[in-house]
Amino acid sequence: MLGAEEMTAIWLSLRVALVATLVALPLAIWIAYLLARKTFPGKQLLNGVVHLPLVLPPVVTGYLLLVVFGTQAPVGRFLSETMGVTFAFRWTGAALAAGIMAFPLMVRAIRLGIEAVDPGLEEAAETLGSTRTRVFRTITLPLVLPGVFAGAVLGFAKALGEFGATITFVAAIPGETQTIPTAIYGLLQVPGSEPAVVGLVSVSIALAMGALLVSEWLARRMAKKLGRA
């Protein structure tokens, strides 16, 4: 039922979604922390920008990605010249698109987690001589892990399902950028391709469920440790 091309798409999707989630996670944590705990000029603007990929039709986001990260675009050229990172028609570009689309979901989940941490504990850690960085690393972050897991699983699921921005930005090159959703889209355009679609959809669901179960398990273990369960 699943041909070689589909198998390639599955592996690629998995890699794209994992990389997107893992790379975006630290940044999401940082932004979430800023939004939850700091006040600074332009905070609401940052908040708005983070939410943009959610509001805009994915095609528009894909187009904006082209404008910013395309080979001819300043940022894209700068990155490729200085760091050798190119996004155009590469799986890295697919990961970028997926990461950006997943970003608002991750930030929001983590932010809610941070807001739930008693600032009194951070104060206590500070009185014990900890720098802000250490307080964050040793107190805030561990206590926010449930939120981080939630954010990661939401992000991963979204990254697995992302279609519009990805295909617009990096097209669907088998083995390089053709993920499960683009494969499904292609199949859907052809009459009678339903069985193959069902196969790919099932794989997507299985992957996301797997991630979900792992994150729930981690969160439960965590809660148990904190004596909440």
Binding site: G70, F89, I173, Y185, G186
Partner: protein, 227 residues
């Protein structure tokens, strides 16, 4: 009221045509989407697809009245490049040279009509082998234009009607019409028994209707292919 479900690429001229009537509403989407919607009971009175295969599916499923199916326009498949990039010869050498280490943007070659035509033409011209692993396949012809316009891909294959969408691209070559099966925009009436549909379809085929289409770059319907 007449509800028309039409291929998105027709939006420009079809909006103008619909504006001639008080009671015609057009909903645009991809041909595959429209076909599936109509086969699942969409309340469309008229269907205009850019994809003959899907029209066959609708006919077979009795979702459209077979006798009403009618070609309303045609199109040309062309190669676009960045504005000012100059004529392109339809040879392997020219393609390879122009592409450099870039990619050729096309619609999905086994799913999107424009992509299917592109593959047929490339095969017919013996170019397929040279470019088949250099493709950047996208879901939509507009994305092809965007990729070429943003300099992401040096060349792309689209309909002639799409080249106008962006000033940053221009037509650099046109595929011979016989290098692919005819590009057919076919209209049909659904069994909704709406008496007003006839007038709309008629107008579409009228000189005035056709004028709107040709102004947007569409070609008149091609004669029936000889099987």
């Amino acid at each position: 009221d007449v509800l028309v479900f039409a291929a998105a690429s027709l939006k420009g001229p079809l909006d103008e045509i619909a504006a001639q009537f008080d009671d015609v509403t057009v909903s645009y989407a991809g041909s595959g989407t429209i076909a599936r919607q109509v086969s699942l009971g969409a309340p469309a009175d008229v269907v205009i697809l850019a994809n003959a295969v899907w029209m066959e599916v609708l006919i077979e499923g009795r979702h459209v009245i077979p006798e009403s199916v009618k070609d309303v326009a045609s199109n040309r498949l062309i190669v676009i490049g960045a504005a000012g990039s100059g004529e392109l010869a339809l040879t392997e050498k020219a393609f390879v040279e122009r592409l450099g280490d870039g990619r050729l943007a096309v619609g999905l070659t086994d799913a999107v009509p424009a992509g299917i035509y592109a593959r047929a033409s490339l095969e017919a011209l013996g170019l397929w082998g040279a470019v088949s692993d250099r493709l950047a396949e996208v879901d939509n012809v507009r994305a092809v234009v965007a990729l070429v316009a943003r300099g992401q891909a040096p060349l792309g294959i689209t309909y002639r009607t799409d080249a106008d969408v962006s000033d940053a691209v221009e037509e650099v070559a046109a595929f011979p019409a016989e290098s692919h099966s005819p590009i057919r925009y076919t209209a049909a009436i659904t069994p909704s028994d709406n008496p007003d549909t006839a007038a709309f379809l008629q107008f579409l085929s009228s000189d005035e209707g056709q004028a709107h289409l040709t102004a947007a770059g569409f070609l008149p319907p091609q004669p029936e292919p000889i099987d």
